[in-house]
Every structure is written in C-alpha cells, then in structure tokens.
Amino acid sequence: MIDQLAEEYSNQPVVVVDYHFSIDTPPLFDPPQARWNVIQASEAGLGLTWVVVDSGRLHHRGAETTPEAYETYTAMIDDALARPATAEINAFWWLDGSSVKVSATVKNNSAVTLTTGNNAGVYAIVKENGVKYETHTTYQPGIAAAKTAISSLAPGETDTFEIEVPDVDPTDWSKVEIIVLVDYQTAPGEHYDQLQAAIATKALDVHPDYHLFFLDDGVTSVPGFTSVVLGNQGLAWTASSNQTWLSLNPSSGIVGDAIVMTTDGTALEAGWNSAVVTITDSSETYTTNVIVEIYAASPGEEINRVFLPVITRP
C-alpha cells in the first residue's frame, strides 16, 4: 500500500520514506535515530504503523485496515501539499569514503527563530529507491539519516549547514537519493513541524556513467562516445583514464562540458577490456567515475546480436 501511495504521488512533489522497526530483542534494525526522535515526539508510547508528514505536524498510528490507512494517509499528504513551504533549501551531496556529506543552504522564511532551544535542525535522509531490504516491507527504504543542529537562524536569515551521514552501505549507489529537510519542535514535549524539504543534487556527476561495446573478430574501430559532466555550476574538473587504450578529450573542463572518449582498438585484448575514467573537481573533494567495458571477440569467435522490439507508452 505504501508503494502504491509512492506510485500515485510520483508526479507530485512527494517523497515516501519507510523505516523499519524491529520488536526483536535486541532489535535487528531500528529507524535512523535522528528521525525516530522526531517521529516519537508526535505521540507518546509505541503503536505501529506510525506515519508522519511535516515532521509530525500530522501523524497517524495503528491503522487497522488498508482502506483506513489509504484514506488517512492521502488526506495527510494532500493537507501537507496545500501548506506552503516556509524555508528555501538548496543542497548538494558527495561521498567521502562511506560517508554521505551534504551542504545545505537554508533561508528561513518562517516567523520562527530556529535555535537549539527548539531543537531545530537540518537533516539528511539517505533513501535507496526501488530496493527491498529483508528488514523493510516496501521499496522506499530510508537506510540512514543524520541531523545538524541549527544554533540560530532568525526569520529572513540564510545560512549553510554541513551534515554527515556515516557508514552508508546501500546495495546500489545509483539508486540513492538524499532528502534534506528542516524542522523544529513546536514546544517542549510537543510535535515537530517542518519548514521545507528538498532533494539534494550530486556535487559532481556524469551521464552516462557506463559504456559497453562488443567488437566482432577483426574489428578494431570503436566509435567515439561521450559523457557529460554534471554537478555544481561552474565547478572545474579534471579526468583521467586508468587504461592507455582509452583517450579523453578534453581531460579537463567545467560542469556542463562533455568528454569525448576514443579507443585504440588495436590495443584491446581478446575478451573483456575494462577502463575507469575518474573525474575529480579542482579541490579534490568530489569524485565520480565512468566505466567503459569493451568485449573484443577472439579469432573465429562470433558475437550474436539479438534485437528486441520495444513498445513505449505515449
């Protein structure tokens, strides 16, 4: 049902995050503590399924039937959609080892001063889209989260915050989405309220990040192919290949530029040939890769190509 909700709201600015809660002793997996603290503030005790929007401004617990849950949850989402944001968030993220690091610039458009006194914070939630973990029952798993407290951000003020989510271990980084949000506690012992949320962009990215070719026996020419470097506006980068048979042009540029890759087919060995192009920004903080794989047929080997019809929906 939660997956159905995510699908139904996929064309609207709504993200669905599912945290697992284990009642085993000791628990196998808990919701990320930073968000669990916020969710628990919406009502005393424990009752599942527990659902919040706007960080607990609206919440519901213990839906007994699917129709009850569906009706309640859609009403909560629609209510939250109708309520305007009271902050602006611009955020980008990058990887540092297994840590996700986020830089978020927040403008407080609300009438509330965000401080440690009202537990205000900027959160980064790591979600892996379309993956079903054994510990989760949906394809919307929130796998980690962290909070950076806001010491003081008065109405109208803007500040930049860094959030670090350590030990992130997804099954597929390409499916990871970083949700950044700002909230505060409305009163001691009361629920939280959310000013705004945003999806963080990657500081440095490349598209496509994978190229695959099959070369018939005797063929040495591989057509030139390109990847476009994406990310923070104006960011300068350099690129290098770990294989001599793969040349890059240009090998440096700024975000928005494309890299044309050319291959010296005569230098390829029979079988699989793999190269990694590493793109790094000028501060050497952000890195992204392009994988190039070329299968060169051995003498006498025939590569069979099967072309499948594709039907697309209008």
Binding site: M1, I2, D3, L5, Y9, Q12, P13, V14, V15, V16, V17, D18, Y19, H20, F21, P31, R35, W36, I39, L48, T49, W50, V51, V52, V53, D54, S55, T66, Y73, M76, I77, A80, L81, R83, P84, A85, E88, I89, I125, T137, T138, G142, I179, L181, Q194, Q196, A197, A198, I199
Partner: protein, 47 residues
C-alpha cells in the same frame, strides 16, 4: 545647432526617458518561491 539647443534637446530626451521608465517600470525580478516537497515518513509499515 547651437550648443545651448543641443543641451536643451538632451535634457528633454533625458526627461522623456525618465517618464517612460515611470510609466513602464521594470518588471519585478522576484524569484519564484521554491515548491514545497512533502516527506511522508512511515515506521513499521505492514506492506
């Protein structure tokens, strides 16, 4: 044209340009407010 007349013409043109600006002020450059993103968080969902 004498220098005095040229200066008068320039003054008149400046006034006209100013008036045009008053009648047609520059459009507001105010940025579109950021669209709200709703985060629906669930714990222990059965399905």
């Amino acid at each position: 044209m004498q220098l005095r007349n040229k200066l008068l013409l320039l003054l008149a043109l400046s006034l006209l340009a100013g008036l045009t600006g008053v009648v047609h002020p520059a459009q507001s450059q105010e940025a579109t407010p950021q669209e709200k993103l709703v985060v629906f968080e669930t714990v222990g969902s059965p399905t």
